[in-house]
């Protein structure tokens, strides 16, 4: 299973790959991934690669990813080429209009990519007083709700409990549920 996680520096992408790593470890699976630290973390485009299984290289090759987890819709479009045909995109949407772009739709259709959109900012405004620092946890919930991998809501909750500071525990668990429910049909 190969994941690519994309977004903008500061959105908490590193934490998501930590969570995925924890889940894989608890299942005794081999993990290989790659993260961005340094200059690009300052508001630039960031990308994490995450591979579960028998791999040597930390990078996902173009056209090989099973899942693209996008914290930002523009970054999603920029990195769609990582997805294999039939792959899944879980994407945080803030501008529905532009995501309906004709060429984009054609590409998604041509490559049979399943899109799972979540209005992350709207949800966090409504339920978390607009604290967008919870975006990463919300998207992880969405990943489970979309059922695009074998990772379950329980897996993610357990990993977050172990990784996140105790004082955010309740809020985190609430937000994971929000993400899960938003995409669970």
């Amino acid at each position: 299973m190969q994941y690519v996680i994309v977004g903008i520096g500061g959105q908490g992408i590193l934490f998501s790959s930590k969570v995925l790593g924890k889940v894989a470890l608890s299942r005794n699976e081999n993990v290989m991934g790659s993260e961005v630290h340094g200059m690009a973390q300052r508001g630039g485009s960031v990308i994490s690669h995450f591979k579960v299984g028998d791999y040597r290289s930390p990078l996902v090759n173009s056209g090989d990813a099973d899942v693209l987890l996008a914290f930002d819709q523009n970054e999603a479009v920029r990195n769609l080429h990582f997805l294999k045909d039939g792959g899944s995109l879980v994407v945080n949407i803030f501008d529905e209009g532009s995501f309906k772009n004709e060429h984009l739709s054609k590409y998604l259709e041509k490559h049979n990519i399943k899109v799972h959109p979540i209005m992350g900012y709207e949800i966090l405004k409504e339920h978390m007083g607009g604290n967008f620092l919870f975006l990463n946890v919300l998207i992880l919930g969405a990943l489970c709700g979309a059922e695009v991998s074998d990772i379950t809501l329980e897996d993610v909750k357990e990993a977050i409990e172990q990784l996140a500071p105790a004082k955010f525990k309740d809020a985190n668990l609430k937000v994971v549920d929000l993400g899960f429910r938003a995409l669970k049909n």
């Binding site: 993260e35 630290h37 090759n61 920029r78 060429h103």
Partner: protein
């Protein structure tokens, strides 16, 4: 408890350093190496070792501490990024000649790409320059293993050993095995012996030939005893291509061959690129008609091969001479060497979508609320005609605020201000010079330039952007902060102001970075002083970095569309992720996804269109 954990490559290296019984570990932060030292402290605390763990003020300091500690017989380690070794090059080149006593491992992280560096240099080349051995890990787990072998090799041949992880190893996340601390019986015991520890020229005449002999002995070692790092992955039947791959390039090649399902290509893995096990490599080359060398970023393996005529590599254009060898690039190299068809170019629909939606990669920028943004705005507005050298840190991103004209290396802000001053002086031209440096960089290499400028009477304003942290590299301590890494250890704070006064600075003001009016006024005043007295004047802009998440007053603002004339002044000179331009309405607006309500931009609009939200709704 499981003895496996998912670690960052840098954490795996750190774990190895502690497990291998290293007793002094020093570093100066720098991407992609920064996470190593804090992880050494963490594991040393967990495993209860006595390891001293310290940030040096710069890489030269860190290197010299670790090297001299090894003269006493204990295992030591210095950690830095590739350009850090440029700073530490002087002691490194010298100590390479020594007949060391304790094992010394030098971990230098390379940054092909580069992602976060001022060069793309290859530390394996530096190993060749100094004539010391170098390990090039292909995964995090292997990097950890190489730490042990690095110390052993260093002790066997009494020589510094380099471990050169590249960024994809440093920042990969992999499950690795955790072990206990090994027991070694190295005793700390410094024995006076000037013939061994004093680098007099007469000694070099002895030491240099001995160094040559050591490196040949190590080459023999690498030929025969390191088959876990140097080995062949044979093809099935006759190979159409032989690939020699060093470091992480080996991992990338192997995953590509696996996903292609190809078995007609053989691979020679090299984990010890210097000194190159030449017999092993020559034999591999002899067995193949078609051979390519894939390594990052310089042709280090390639150049050690005596006869390159039949080899494909950088010398004949098969491998790019710059940039990271990403999987896509590596695929292309392999296909080109096979003479097979390459499918190139982006999907036309995706390309059209990106164009229509005007989506480009987001460039790094200062965080919303970053004090540097306010400082640059004040500096630029106070003296718009000034020359603005700057330095290396988050504030290099002040280019976006048009407050940065030239950056060369760490500490260069102060010395470039001197250079610009001299150039204008000899030309008889009068022009203000305001240069910027961060607090960590000030201690790293700002001080010698400042002493020199006071001594030579150079007029410029040095703005020290003190955010109480080494921010760019992820938030490390430095002498101006005083905290240390091992649990329960406290350091002492070295005051920036006192250090400046010690260098002879007389004009020095400390101001709040967020206060734009005060900032503008102080910069003007400081320049007048510097010009009149022919000496540097210092202004310290203070406000904690946003990454520290210190509580601060929240001031909600909005853009009044009636007052905004769409001039983009705020975008061009303040340039905040939380303040964007609506191309349809031709007005600025707040982007609440990013705005942190620092309130600074209220004082930025010349038309008074950015206003505080008053009352209840704030």
């Amino acid at each position: 408890m499981s003895n496996r954990a998912i670690l960052l490559g840098n954490e795996a290296i750190a774990r190895g350093i502690v497990e291998a019984g290293c007793l002094v570990t020093t570093a100066y932060p720098g991407t992609p190496s920064s996470e190593i030292l804090p992880a050494v402290a963490k594991f040393a605390d967990e495993l209860g070792t006595k390891t001293a763990v310290e940030w040096g003020a710069n890489e030269k300091v860190a290197f010299e501490m670790a090297a001299s500690a090894s003269f006493t017989g204990i295992r030591t380690c210095a950690v830095m990024k590739q350009v850090g070794l440029n700073v530490a090059a002087d002691p490194f080149m010298s100590a390479a000649h020594f007949d060391l006593k304790g094992g010394m491992l030098l971990v230098v992280a390379d940054d092909p790409g580069p992602h976060s560096s001022q060069t793309e240099q290859d530390t394996r080349f530096f190993a060749m320059f100094a004539k010391v051995p170098c390990f090039d890990p292909s995964t995090a787990a292997e990097a950890k293993e190489m730490v042990f072998d690095g110390f052993d090799l260093s002790e066997k041949h009494n020589i510094i050993t380099i471990l050169r992880p590249s960024v994809r190893v440093d920042h990969c996340r992999q499950d690795v095995e955790l072990k206990e601390v090994i027991s070694i019986d190295n005793k700390m015991n410094f024995e006076k012996d000037p013939s061994r520890w004093v680098c007099l020229p007469a000694r070099v005449r002895v030491n240099h030939p001995r160094l040559n002999a050591k490196i040949e002995a190590i080459r023999e070692d690498f030929e025969n005893n390191y088959s876990k790092y140097n080995y062949k992955v044979p093809a099935k039947g006759k190979a159409k291509l032989g690939i020699i791959a060093s470091g992480v390039s080996f991992s990338i090649v192997m995953d590509i061959l696996k996903s292609w399902g190809r078995e007609d290509i053989s691979v020679l893995k090299i984990g010890t690129p210097h000194p190159l096990p030449l017999k092993m490599v020559d034999e591999f080359i002899k067995r193949h008609e078609n051979v390519v060398i894939i390594e990052e970023t310089y042709p280090v393996v390639e150049m050690q091969i005596l006869d390159r005529t039949k080899i494909k590599g950088r010398w004949n254009g098969y491998v790019p001479k710059a940039g990271e060898l990403l999987p896509e690039v590596t695929e292309e190299i392999i296909l080109k060497c096979l003479g097979e068809e390459i499918e190139l170019g982006a999907d036309p629909d995706l390309k059209a979508a990106l164009e229509e939606l005007a989506i480009t990669p987001r460039k790094p920028m200062l965080c919303p609320g970053c004090p540097h943004r306010a400082s640059f705005f004040s500096i630029r507005q106070a003296l718009p005609k000034a020359v603005n050298p700057s330095d290396i840190g988050c504030y290099t991103l002040g280019v976006n605020q048009k407050g940065v004209d030239a950056v060369m290396d760490m500490g260069g802000s102060v010395t470039m201000a001197s250079g610009f001053y001299l150039a204008h002086k000899v030309a008889g031209e009068d022009r203000p010079i305001v240069t910027t440096i961060g607090d960590s960089t000030f201690f790293h290499m700002g001080l010698p330039g400042l002493a020199s400028a006071v001594y030579n009477k150079h007029a410029f304003v040095l703005a020290i952007l003190d955010n109480s942290i080494t921010a760019m590299t992820g938030g490390q301590s430095h002498p101006g902060i005083g905290t240390k890494l091992r649990k329960g250890e406290e350091g002492r704070v070295v005051e920036i102001e006192g250090a400046c006064r010690g260098c002879g600075i007389k004009y020095i003001k400390i101001i709040k970075a967020y206060d734009i009016d005060e900032g503008k006024q102080t910069i003007k005043e400081a320049w007048e002083y510097a010009k009149e007295n022919e000496e540097p004047a210092v202004v310290i802009f203070k406000h904690p970095c946003m990454l520290l998440r210190r509580p601060q007053e929240k001031i909600q603002v909005y853009v009044d569309p009636e007052k905004c004339i769409g001039c983009k002044f705020c975008i061009n000179f303040f340039n905040c992720p939380g303040l964007v331009f609506d191309e349809e309405k031709k007005k600025a607006r707040i982007d609440e996804r990013f705005c942190v309500q620092c309130g600074v931009c209220e004082n930025v609009c010349p038309h008074g269109a950015i206003l505080k939200v008053e009352g209840e709704e704030a």
